[in-house]
């Protein structure tokens, strides 16, 4: 099947199998390796990307469902060499350890801040329920999201 979508601002016409998963198309066809495969069951959030601004688990999202939509991956988050405020906050707050959850965390946080520009700590904790991190204990990730929200105001 042919699908037409925008990935990180760039229009793409792709030939995909009807059962192809968005994660595989991003990683294997487009060589965008930032979204990670982990649980395969929409629990861990490592594969999270934004489709029309909404956070989705690319591991269980059919590529054909993205037809006509706009997809943002971690590779499209920075503006050239200038980091997105969330990326900067993650670096400064020490919110990154192994990095395997990082792209999903960043995009989930971006989706949240689009919905809620003034989140409380509890808002962030709740929103990140679908994004697992085994390294950080979450505190610095939450700090980073709150700092980025602060910067954006």
């Amino acid at each position: 099947m042919t699908i037409r979508l925008v990935v990180n601002g760039r229009p793409r016409d792709l030939e995909v199998a009807p059962h192809a998963l968005l994660l595989d198309v991003l990683r294997d066809t487009l060589d965008l390796k930032g979204a990670k495969r982990s649980c395969d069951t929409q629990v861990c959030g490592a594969c999270t990307v934004l489709v029309d601004g909404l956070a989705v688990s690319a591991c269980t999202y059919l590529a054909v469902e993205a037809d006509g939509r706009s997809v943002l991956t971690v590779e499209g988050l920075a503006d050239g060499e200038s980091l997105h405020p969330l990326q900067r906050a993650f670096v400064e707050a020490g919110a990154v350890q192994c990095g395997f959850c990082t792209s999903g965390m960043l995009l989930t946080a971006k989706a949240m801040l689009a919905e809620n520009r003034t989140p409380t700590r509890d808002d962030v904790l709740h929103y990140l329920r679908g994004s697992l991190c085994r390294c950080t204990g979450y505190r610095k990730i939450v700090d980073a999201v709150l700092a980025a929200a602060e910067t954006a105001r």
Partner: protein, 761 residues
Amino acid sequence: MSARPLRVVGHPVPRVDAIEKVTGRARYVTDLTLPGMAHAKVLRSPYAHARVRRVDVTRARARPGVFAALAGADLTWCDPYYGPAYRDRPVLAIGVARYEGEPVAAVAAVDEATAEEALELIDVDYEPLAPVMTLEEALAEDAPLVHAGQPPAGHFADLSTLRPRPGTNICHQFQFARGDAAAALGGADVVVEDAYRFPAVQHVALEPHAAVAAWDETGALTLWASTQNPYSVRVELAKMFDVPLARIRVVVPHLGGGFGSKTYAKLEPLAATLARAAARPVRLAASVPEAFQTVRRCASRVAVRAGFRRDGTLVAVACDADYDVGAYADIGPRVVQKGTYTATGPYRVPHVRLEARAVYTNTTPGGAFRGFGVPQLAWALESLFDVAADRLDRDPVDLRRQNFLAHGEEFAPGDTPIDGKLEESLSRAAEAIGWTRAPAADRGRGVAAMLKASVAPSVSEAIVRLHADGSVTVLASAVEMGQGTRTVLTQIAAEVLSVPLARVTVVQPDTAVTPYDQTTSSSRSTAMTGRAVQVAAEDVRDQLLAIAAQNLGVAARELALADGAVVAPARRLTYPEALALKFGMSGGELIGRGVIAPGRTAAPLGGSTPFWEMAVGAAEVSVDEETGAVRVERYVSVADVGRAINPLLLEGQDEGGVVQGLGHTLLEEMLYADGHLLNGTLLVYRVPRADDTPSELECHFVENADGSGPFGAKGAGEGSLIPVSPAVANALARLTGVRLRDLPLTPERVWRALRARSPRA
């Protein structure tokens, strides 16, 4: 020179790999692609224990797109057994499958879908056998044996004395004693005893195990592997394929978490075997459920007796610990003896009897997991310590303080004297949690302490190269798995050579390039690899000083390094200038070498620990009496680290350790029924989420620069996890009067215990 203030060491600089990680550019094993690379899938045993009578891979092999299909019986062209303690584990089951999920056959094909389809074409004739799923079943009279016959010992010097009990499922026994524990317990004023259980839990590194293997035209093997010890993997593969170590190259990109799950060979032997059979590169990437079938923490039951004098002095500890190491020994025997060795915790105990057994069962192999056998024993001892405090009518903090080993005191004959100040950690934890102030009526507080040895003897080597432009390359094989070792090694080299962090590059571990390092585990990288890097950088520094002394006509002792130059009282020589003077041209480099190899000693485990890891945890909890749900509201961790090379990264590691500890304390347990693992996926195996974390979480450090590592550092990163369970259970006991002995403290367990509690006055 030593009095110079530190420029980068001790500062909370952002991690050097942060940018590549937040931009998605960091590369992990599963991000790699090689030309002609095949994809592998594994057929796994559906039975916990079965005779494998026949495996027919003919139809799979004939399927278009399949490059190789292998069963255990096909592996006649290599030694198919591996394992760091016993080489008891076949790459693919041979004759017997010993746990549910054991690899029985494997396929390499043009893509994953084809490989998956080919698995369907493999015909296996199983004869189910009676399994032993628990310690009790495995230790019963006439229990079915997981392994018949005794396998050969592996490559660890101190495991050459492995002591299995033939004809049983006990694959190793460990004993340690001093004084006369039985007599001392008989004469003690107060004796407390109980038995405690610790569950099998999985590491859940977000990146499951992965390896890409490629044999080249000369017969050399290269592996890109998610491993914490490339050098141990190399040894295993050299034995299996009978090739020299020099012809096996293990390269380690970023790891998506380790926590012990990626120590020693895991998928690498199978990936290398398939690549040889397929005659092309093979990628083998596990799923999360397959990670649950690869390694886990050793479950345990620990019975402890402790005897005190009326005045609170601890006089004796007797401990019997059984660890369930699963179907293959992996590093389990070492987990057992290492954990049990410090069963007495950070306390002065004159009379000790410790006995431990590593027991095979038909479950996922148990191996290393953050804490390495110590969390199981600390859970028992630190819980029992509070029971003793109650019996002695003593404050649990005071009772611990009274019995702590002092700085410089002997832990065991021949081992390193205690190199930290436990009372300082305890005081800070007590102060931060507000121990002397009464908590709110619906809150309870508890404390726990820990002591852990690092692996010994062990070896770390490093090379530091100073280039003609004054930039620096660090070659070392400590694996970056999130803990921040690459940043810490960068800081150490930058500090010694007085260059900006951005002028230092730490090369990813590659056994063809970066020198020997025993393992990235045991909290040893900063202390051991970091010390090797420091020594190597000092070697370069001394060479620079010698060049400058000769050329400036100044004594070396009057020179120092500052801002990328050798500085004399009246002159300075930049590094490029110094190198140009030495080589007479704008080329050449200075090479420094660092070797940290303390060797064997008379210590009980064969080597003296390079440092003691010591920490104290304090928890404040609440409980919902209706549901039994325990919530950790506040938590304080204090670790004695000697010096925090990077306080930001260290704090992050310890916060992560506490939350990982909350996992096995409140949520996590691999549950088996009828021979099957019930919860081997993240849909049903619950690890802590963001909203499971304490409202307040503080991680503090005691820094007295008293460690043997660089700049007085000691290892850290495991200590924060170990006190969590007993600190939480002690808090729950002080709040409710209920003492639980089995982890995790699930709502059901707590609710039942609350219901069974006699009404409080």
